[in-house]
């Protein structure tokens, strides 16, 4: 069964074969507040791990979303700009921002699993 992984910057990653579905965690959504804007990446854009690929904006602030892996954007969630509540759904249910075809799936090994991420959240303010 596919597993969801997490980054320290609060990206959530759902792994579907060699494609990573990337969104933001409930913690990030809570910190941002209600979203008012999402800037999606262009399909075909090649990314290195750590590259900014999307921007999510709320009335409080704007935040970059970073790619957790090297790869290429194969799909952007075109429904999201018109339906910002999608971000609150789980990745598999439409909460993803972009799908990235990974060139090195072993990079996922450096990410946290659910339990590790929950422990990580406890260390934050």
């Amino acid at each position: 069964m596919a597993e969801t992984k997490y980054t320290e910057d609060h990206e959530a990653v759902y792994v579907d074969g060699d494609v990573a579905w990337v969104g933001i965690t409930p913690y990030a959504q809570e910190a941002l507040g209600d979203l008012v804007f999402v800037e999606l990446p262009e399909v075909g854009k090649s990314l290195s791990k750590g590259d900014e690929f999307a921007v999510v904006e709320s009335v409080k602030t704007a935040a970059e979303v970073y790619s957790p892996v090297d790869g290429e954007v194969v799909e952007a969630n075109d429904n999201m700009p018109d339906d910002l509540e999608l971000i609150t759904k789980s990745l598999a249910d439409g909460g993803w921002i972009a799908k990235i075809k990974m060139s090195d799936a072993s990079q996922l090994d450096g990410l946290m699993d659910e339990a590790a991420y929950q422990d990580y959240l406890k260390t934050l303010d």
């Binding site: 507040g33 008012v36 709320s58 409080k60 303010d125």
Partner: protein, 517 residues
Amino acid sequence: MSAESKIVEMMEEDHKPEHDGDRGLHYEENLLWEKEHSDSSGVDLPEPAGLKSRTGVAERGNIGLPQVSEPQALRHFVRMSTWNYSIDHGFFPLGSCTMKHNPRLNEKIARHPKFAHIHPMQPESTVQGALGLIYELQEWLAELTNLPGVCLSPAAGAHGELAGMMTIRRAHEQKGEIKKRKIVLTPDSSHGTNPATAVTCGFEVRNMPTKETGILTVEAFKEALYKTDPDGADVAGMMVTNPNTCGLFEKDIIEIANLLHKAGGYFYMDGANFNALVGKIRPGDFGVDVMHINLHKTFSTPHGGGGPGSGPICCTDELAQFMPVPTVVKIGDMYKLETIEDRPESVGRLKGYQGQFGMHVRALSYMLSHGADGLKRVSEDAVLNANYILRQLEGDYYAPYADQGPCMHEALLTDKHQKEHGVQTLDIAKALIEKGFHPMTVYFPLVLPGTMLIEPTETESKDSLDRFITVMKDIANEAETNENAADHFHSFPHSSPRRRLDEVKAARNPQLRWKPA
């Protein structure tokens, strides 16, 4: 029903729109288009007869301008102006914005007919006094910053940033290094205009983390400087605000500036917070190559609707050849506005004429009326007032950097304690409105969640600070002790002309154009 919710209900009843709100000489006001129109008009013009438009449109239809008489138009705008809030109403503690009193002496001088009635296209020989004033202001700014190149024309702080970064870009172009120097370093606490300006000038931005300490450390700087080149030879420069947006002085700045210069980069200082340093320390002495100054903040010229702003830049001798034209130069006894022919290496002109002359008059008036010793005292009092607020409130609110020592001209708090009771920064801001104070800057800087940045400025009395502190303590106490704190706070404000506005809806579905109902 609790007494409180009953009051809330009564107030909601009170604030139904459509002129039922006209109570106690406080007026609701519709848009001009929504007024009931008569055929009255402020001006009667005869119908143009037999005229054919040169654009080929023979007849103009009704374009639907509202028809109101002169007193109706006057009352419309005056009524709306009563909904405004300004520093002339009361305390305005916006962090990073320096809303301080604008001395009326400045206004008197700026309105003097010999300043107010001159025209920028007059021959220079007839405006020698005005050019002399600009020259004098350039000299003052050069002295206060120890940066001898001064260009007064940028029309706002962000415009000054653009002028400064274009100047740095031109310097790299002249050295033939612009192709390899693509990166500009900024701390994550920077004003949003810093990275925006760097990108506008064709650079890439690299962030430097400051969350742990609130200031830029030598380690964080080195990591960013040498990240992709062992000598930092791909870095064009850095943009740093000092004191920074956490209200802290960057104490390692000399070492950082030295490392940057060694790598061949230039140091741009965002001078938005220069009001904490004036007369105490000169940016040219801690390695700044170019900076802007907000005359409308540090030197008390009006802004926030009263403007216009004015954002001169000051730079080193090396960079002065590249900064925008014009500056005022003195040749013998005569003053002259230079042109691009006088300084062909310049990035060129960024603003019509000489900049916001009325603001130059006000700023110099402020400097001369305070004198060198007075300006120093201004900085000291601004810092003293901010520290008074910080120490009074650090027990009630989380003050992330308070244990590092004194702050500079602004105090940083967050909603960390109140959030445990469901009360967030936005709720605290709305509660402040209810209790008669304009809120501080909220959710900025972005280094920590729920920040509140308070800049009291030197012009507030102790009495005014004490009243603000009392209300802030009351709010913290209410958040902690009210059993239903979250709901209680979410209902604020109650007494303002409008209750809590739906900011999310406004951002998601903005109505940018009025349409008939």
